[in-house]
């Protein structure tokens, strides 16, 4: 069984590598634009499977493949926990199916294929979420996830149906060509239903309620894939519909999307800073990051509406770059959280502490991931947030004297407040969870996770750094994958276009920081020699020190909670889900009177049915 587990994980890893290669080639325009597969399943109904490799989909394939490889390697070690359940062989099968179905979403070229892949992805991920089905909470989380994802799919079908009604086709290629000619109000309908459908999958507020439940419940490498890639399928689909097909959007589309994104970003980050357990913090931060991505997408739409293709392309490239970086660091952090869970079996931050001494390797990987998470050098997150900021600021500068300038201003406020809140949650995770002394027996006796899990974490850290240390490569690559009309010719960014985005800025910046830090260490040592080190207890005003004297996670977030308490009211639950649920319950109580359990009543129903039939079918 163990051999099978290793074999399946290896297979998933190899397939993911293949997906990376396919994505790379399609971004490089190695494939013809026509579908590479067109297979009719049933004649007479529109059940064709049509697959084509587009440059735009290729970008996302690359993202999926890289995270998939990491998840597969990680899964090898993670499966050891499930020794009693055949080393999690079914988990491996699910992982493989999950990767394949997501790949299918990115290559689908007609409605049937897309919806098929989309639903497969949802079903497989639902099964993976409830893999630990002995826990009642997990089952409940899975149920909420499944219902939200179906709600989203309903909106998507509406959007596709309207598109079909106006173009007379189910092919994406036809949508791309003629969806631009759909009359105004109908376009808005298509846009709105697509936005609602994809927002539910992306976990934008107020459709986020499934995300903080489902992501922590799943096994860690599945959470990594879900948070890293699956919710990006929503971004992919949304960009496909709004930017590639509908083109020439209305201004309010962009403002709506940017507004929803900004709200999600800020509130997601705020909640992430208040949660007690590691994986829930990461799940809320996924909401915050999806908010940022939709903020970027919204600004792209605004620029498209104002017919500024270069600015729009720049904003779009920045958004996709940020999506890549989020995929990488979120995958690393979820896997790291899994390694911590493996080692301590304790999720709340308050029961951890001191892990930097018991789990030295995991701590290094996590601190690297957290740097990119908080958009600080040297992770890729720093560069992509820099680009996003530049995109917003350029848009603001170009429209300072109109209402668009005010929208940009609000976007920037949300952007920076979110950034600072993210730094806060990162420091809370590491400062409370990993530094100082162990707060519990589990944390004190923690031992490192299996080697394959650590290899995956190390590789994840390398990917994060590689994505940020040489941005020209990444940005040129993304620029290649954009639709022709939006390519902003990234090379102009690196050569002379302006001085602050020169090709070498980032490497020079990192080298300077490193060199200055080394100098600050070496110079005093040369002149004054090594300093004598004594070790004593941390000062506690004279008392005996215990680990519980360190600041706690709730204490650390108390000032922010107190200042922003008005924003933390559960609006979604209170004003959206509960009223709807109560409506459902009250209508069903009315209909329940029909089912009263009396035999006589049922006989009466039968008699009346027969009477009606006799009258009607006479």
């Amino acid at each position: 069984m163990r051999a099978l587990h290793i074999l399946l994980s290896t297979l998933t890893g190899l397939i993911s590598l293949g997906i990376v290669a396919l994505g790379w080639l399609s971004v490089r325009h190695a494939f013809p634009a026509s579908p590479i597969l067109d297979h009719e399943i049933l004649s007479g109904v529109p059940a064709h499977v049509v697959v084509s490799l587009t440059p735009f989909g290729g970008l996302f394939l690359c993202m999926l493949g890289i995270v998939g490889v990491l998840a597969a390697v990680y899964g090898m070690g993670y499966g050891l926990q499930y020794e009693s359940r055949r080393y999690g062989v079914w988990l491996d099968v699910g992982l493989l199916g999950f990767v394949l179905s997501m790949a299918a979403v990115f290559v689908a070229a007609n409605v049937f294929t897309f919806i098929l892949a989309w639903e497969l992805m949802s079903i497989v991920s639902y099964m993976l979420v409830v893999y630990d089905y002995h826990d009642r909470e997990t089952v409940k989380s899975g149920l909420i996830y499944a219902s939200m994802t179906q709600l989203g799919a309903a909106f998507l079908l509406t959007a596709f149906f309207i598109l079909h009604a106006y173009t007379g086709s189910y092919e994406f290629a036809v949508f791309a060509k003629s969806a631009g000619a759909i009359p105004p109000v109908t376009r808005d309908l298509v846009f709105l239903s697509a936005f609602l459908g994809f927002a539910a999958k992306a976990g934008l507020m107020p459709f986020h309620i499934w995300l903080p439940r489902a992501h922590p419940a799943a096994p860690s490498h599945v959470s990594a894939l879900m948070s890293g890639v699956m919710i990006k399928t929503a971004l992919y689909g949304f960009l496909l519909v709004s930017v590639l097909w509908l083109r020439a959007p209305a201004l309010w589309w962009g403002v709506l999307v940017a507004g929803a994104g900004a709200v999600s970003a800020f509130l997601g980050a705020l909640h992430a800073g208040q949660e007690a357990s590691l994986k829930r913090i990461l799940a809320y931060s996924s909401i915050d990051n999806m908010g940022l991505l939709f903020l970027g997408a919204g600004m792209t739409l605004v620029e498209l509406a104002l017919r500024q293709p270069v600015l729009a392309g720049f904003a779009l490239a920045a958004t996709i770059y940020q999506a890549f970086n989020h995929a990488f660091f979120k995958s690393l952090l979820f896997q790291g959280a899994g390694a911590v869970l493996y080692a301590t079996h304790a999720a709340p931050l308050n029961r951890l502490g001191g892990l930097i001494k018991t789990l030295p390797w995991t701590s290094i990987f996590i601190v690297g991931g957290l740097l990119s998470f908080s958009a600080l050098p040297p992770g890729g997150g720093f560069v992509s947030e820099w680009m996003l900021f530049s995109a917003f600021a350029r848009i603001g500068a170009a429209h300072l004297h109109s209402a668009v300038g005010a929208v940009t201003m609000l976007a920037l406020v949300a952007f920076f407040a979110t950034g600072a809140l993210t730094v806060f949650s990162a420091l809370r995770i590491f400062g409370i969870g990993f530094l100082a002394d162990a707060r519990s027996e589990e944390a004190a006796t923690a031992r490192e996770a299996p080697i394959t899990m650590r290899i995956s974490l190390a590789a994840g850290l390398l990917v994060i750094i590689a994505a940020g240390v040489w941005p020209p490569a990444a940005v040129n690559f993304i620029d290649n994958g954009l639709p022709q009309s939006l390519q902003f010719h990234a090379w102009r960014l690196w050569y002379g276009y302006n001085s602050h985005f020169s090709m070498w800025s980032i490497p020079i910046l990192y080298t300077t920081v490193a060199a200055a830090a080394v100098l600050a260490g070496i110079l005093p040592r040369l002149y004054l020699g090594r300093s004598r080190v004594t070790r004593v207890q941390t000062w506690t005003c004279g008392g005996e020190r215990t680990p519980s004297m360190s600041y706690t996670a709730p204490g650390f977030s108390q000032p922010i909670r107190r200042v922003f308490h008005a924003a933390a009211i559960p609006f979604a639950i209170q004003y959206l889900y509960r009223p709807v649920w109560q409506l459902v319950v009250s209508t069903t109580t009315i209909f329940r009177r029909v089912q009263n359990g009396h035999v006589r009543a049922y006989l009466l129903y039968l008699f009346m049915t027969v009477l009606v039939l006799l009258v009607v079918a006479r």
Binding site: A397, A436, H500, A517, W539, P559
Partner: protein, 313 residues
């Protein structure tokens, strides 16, 4: 070659003169309080004292405390290399003097500092860190809005481009939005440099510490580096304000005379600003911690008003 020399001179000026600025501020405050106060060289003496002392580490601390202070110093030196001091020529600046890079480097220094603080497990550090981060949430958007309102829009978001309006008529230069933005930025600078009414730099009273709380467990060289970093941060913020709102005298090219004048005027302007800061500190009392968000919110509002003033007027 000349560019490299000027860049090095700018960095060294910021790094080497930063303790002096702190000494001057303390001296002015002392005089205003009717004390004689220590000499303006006292910060240098303090730093030397820290340098030669041995290091006392907490048993709870890890490599974060051993490496962190050097990283803080490195980040601060690099941040000093992104700011125009004597000349607005942006070729000699790292990342072309991008404001985003500068402020995220400062955020990186804060990140390291908070980790160093929490590493010892001291409760004072946790308290200081969580308050500092709360203020950051409100301060960061304000800084960017204020800079955007002040005219950063015309150029690729580098302070080096902002000097150009100095040719304008004074009334045009100090338009309503610029004045609003300046006040907003000044309020933020008081908060970011840990001054009254937000933080009290002179106290080690447990419950009021913010920055001092995080450095409480540091000793010897680590303390010297982190303290020096705080002095540098103060000069950096002063220089931002000077570059944006008082750019007169900063050279446009790299001519020797212009650079010399630029350095001289920069020093004078820093001293003037030091006087203003010392004055405001002497006449204001420390706020309760949960009043500070209102103060920062006011600054944010001013910055937003500055941006809107452009549309309305």
């Amino acid at each position: 070659m000349r560019g490299t020399v000027i860049a090095a001179a700018q960095i060294l000026a910021i790094i080497l003169l930063s303790p002096l600025l702190q000494g001057v501020i303390r001296k002015i405050k002392a005089i205003m309080q009717g004390r004689q106060g220590p000499a303006i060289w006292q910060p240098y003496r303090d730093l030397r004292k820290h340098w030669v002392k041995s290091t006392v580490l907490s048993v709870s601390s890890s490599w974060i405390t051993s490496l962190g202070p050097y990283l803080v110093a490195g980040i601060m030196a690099c941040a000093a290399a992104t700011l125009p001091v004597a000349t607005f020529s942006s070729d000699i600046l790292i990342a072309g003097g991008s404001v985003f890079v500068l402020l995220y480097l400062l955020a990186g220094a804060r990140f390291s500092l908070v980790l160093i603080g929490l590493d010892s497990g001291s409760a004072f550090a946790g308290m200081g860190a969580s308050r500092d981060l709360l203020f950051a949430v409100m301060a960061e958007p304000t800084v960017f809005l204020a800079l955007l309102a002040a005219g950063l829009t015309a150029t690729p978001f580098a302070l080096s481009g902002i000097g150009l309006p100095s040719e304008q008529h004074l009334g045009l230069f100090f338009s309503p939005q610029r004045v609003l933005a300046m006040v907003a930025l000044f309020l933020i600078i008081l908060a970011e440099t840990g001054r009254l009414p937000v933080d009290n730099p002179d106290t080690h009273l447990e419950l009021t510490m913010i920055h001092e709380g995080m450095t409480l467990e540091l000793t010897g060289r680590h303390l010297a580096l982190v303290t020096w970093g705080a002095y540098i941060r103060q000069v950096l913020w002063f220089t931002i304000l000077i570059d944006v709102f008082f750019p007169w005298g900063v050279a446009q090219g790299t001519g020797v005379m212009g650079i010399a004048l630029g350095f001289l005027l920069w020093a004078v302007k820093c001293l003037l600003l030091a006087f203003i800061v010392a004055f405001t500190e002497s006449v204001s009392a420390k706020m309760r911690i949960f009043m500070v968000p209102r103060y920062l919110g006011f600054a944010l509002l001013l910055a937003a008003a500055a941006l809107l003033a452009d549309t309305v007027l």
